[in-house]
Amino acid sequence: MIKVNALTKDFPLSRQQRKELNTEDKIARAVDNISFECHPGKVFSLLGPNGAGKTTTLRMLSTIFTPTSGTIEIAGIDAVKYPQEARKKIGFLTGSTGLYARLTPVELIDYFASLYGVPKNELESRKKYLFDLLNMHDFLGKRIGKLSTGMKQKVSICRTMIHDPEVVVFDEPTSGLDVITAENIIKLIRDCKDQNKTVIFSSHIMSEVDLLCDDLAIIHKGKIKHEGSMLDFRTTMQESNLTAEFIRIVQS
């Protein structure tokens, strides 16, 4: 479960940035008083154009950024007050995630498992489950730098899921991936849903959202412009297709 209430994030602007943005404001508001809830067993999508505030929101949820104001609850934990505790419950994956190229997949997974404090007896069975599921056995001993994009993506998925998180945060997880590689992510999101995990993912691609999500929020310039179930979105839309409706809401 994720509960977000009146979440706001401001970034200070340097003199150079003020000059570039042609503004006198000393801060830029990336996220402006947003609230929403994501439920277990459901996929929540944060949809918005580039620069809408999706990544900043997800970074606050995963406690990389501290909110300027507002509250975040992750699996019953106050993520603003107890970020380290909240992180134990979160799996985080972005499309631009890099991996340590000089490590092997096994070394990388062991490293992250140690950071998440996964007990050794659980780790072996967890690794076996994920390696089997993702069919990773052929390249476990190779350096990550020498793996293909698809193989790397499998390693990323394995890293995200090694501690069996209750909440999974995906920030534009398929960006830059070909359709075959992106399919691994789509499958992962569906598996998470089947396992009753809370899933939130950001995207600017309406078709991807349509394929996966149960609930959605449309964000633009840091503000939520629409929030509700995907079913409601489809039934109440004024345009002929989902993308056109998304554009209409953003521009309204």
Binding site: I64, L93, T94, E107, L115
Partner: protein, 396 residues
């Protein structure tokens, strides 16, 4: 948790060829290679100089004064061949063409002036860029002058001792150890500091800026590990790399001295072995350890702030000069470790090491230097902590 991060970063660092080169390979090879090269080149120059026949140009013929005098100088001082010219212009032309290496031009009435017991003017011409020619001219002239002087004393019937009021000698009372300390003492800490800095540089950039650039930092920050633990785990690798680089440089120097026959003097070799005592190594590392932390603490905030490897490198590389330049103070004689110099970072480490080698170190100043470096190291760690805590610095 810090150990887990340290272990992973160390594996990652040791698998990076660039870091490995700067941390281990170059420091250990630089001294054996450069010193071996230096010894071989200087030996070949000496051999060449010993067998080379020096061509000396004289205006006049074989009966002229300098021709006679030079012929009397034994060939053990180096082979020479006399060349005779009608005038000074043709001698100078040949000298410029390098057909001859030395040219002697005397005043017109040279023999008459000499006979009149007055100072006769003589000029030696040479190309100072050619090694050893100047020294050879001075040696020849000294022999010829002493002989001429003695001749005059005899003619004037003057006892040499009566015109020599003093028998002066200058005696150096410094021990050999102190002398070695003064000459080599500045060199050793310079190596340590320079390699310590370079050793820290690549891991600092790779583990902080590199992680940002490769997009791996974001996932690391979503793990339930405190930022200070991540910082400390990484910083330990940076410090270890710096210490490894300076230690391997010392090892390389030791191998060069021990096995490449660079030092002929057995007394000096004995002193070198004495200097490298466990107490010396412990004392030196006690200074180098906080210094390396200080280096890491200066580099890490820059590496955290920089967005690309190139940007970090372009800021840290000039910093190298600022940090390593004070280390050159060790090459200057007369600068000692006192209350003021013990408070100046880098300078205090150099001077303390120098005096440690000379055996003249006061341990009060060593403690003060150590204290100053520890305070600076802690301050730099604090700055790193603050910078690493800034979310806009860590995630681009």
């Amino acid at each position: 948790m810090i150990f887990n991060i340290f272990k992973k970063e160390l594996i990652d660092t040791l698998r990076d060829r660039r870091t490995l080169m700067m941390m281990l390979v170059i420091p250990i090879l630089i001294f054996p290679i450069t010193l071996n090269l230096f010894v071989s080149i200087s030996a070949s120059f000496q051999e060449e100089a010993a067998v080379k026949t020096l061509k000396v140009g004289i205006v006049g013929d074989k009966n002229s004064y300098f021709a006679q005098q030079l012929n009397e100088i034994p060939s053990e001082m180096g082979a020479k061949k006399l060349m005779f010219y009608k005038d000074s212009a043709s001698l100078m032309t040949e000298l410029k063409k390098d057909s001859i290496q030395l040219g002697i031009i005397t005043e017109k009435q040279f023999n008459q002036t000499l006979e009149a017991q007055l100072p006769a003017r003589v000029t030696w011409y040479f190309d100072a860029t050619e090694i050893g020619i100047n020294e050879r001219a001075e040696q020849y002239m000294k022999i010829i002058e002493v002989k001429a002087q003695q001749k005059r004393y005899d003619e004037l019937e003057v006892d040499f001792r009566k015109v020599t009021p003093f028998q002066t000698s200058y005696q150096n009372i410094a021990s050999d150890k102190k002398m070695v300390g003064q000459i080599a003492g500045g060199f050793l800490p310079y190596i340590f500091i320079a390699f310590g800095f370079i050793g820290c540089m690549y891991p600092a950039i790779d583990l902080f800026t590199g992680e940002k650039e490769r997009g791996t930092i974001e996932t690391l920050l979503t793990t339930p590990v405190a930022r200070w633990q991540i910082l400390f785990g990484k910083m330990m690798v940076v410090v270890l790399s710096g210490l490894l680089a300076s230690s391997t440089a010392l090892l390389g120097l030791f191998i060069s001295i021990e096995f490449l026959d660079i030092v002929d003097n057995q007394e000096i070799m004995k002193i070198v072995h004495e200097v490298l005592s466990p107490l010396f190594i412990v004392s030196m590392f006690s200074l180098l350890f906080p210094l390396t932390i200080f280096f890491a603490g200066v580099m890490i905030p820059i590496a955290v702030y920089a967005k690309t490897f190139k940007e970090a490198q372009s800021i840290i590389t000039p910093l190298n000069i600022v940090m390593v330049l004070p280390a050159m103070v060790g090459f200057f004689p007369g600068i000692e470790l006192n209350f003021v110099t013990a408070c100046i970072p880098v300078v205090n480490v150099v001077l303390a090491t120098k005096e440690l080698i000379s055996g003249t170190l006061e341990f009060g100043y060593l403690a003060l230097s150590f204290g100053v470096m520890v305070i600076l190291a802690l301050a730099s760690v604090f700055v790193s902590y603050k910078q690493f805590g800034k979310e806009t610095n860590v995630v681009s």
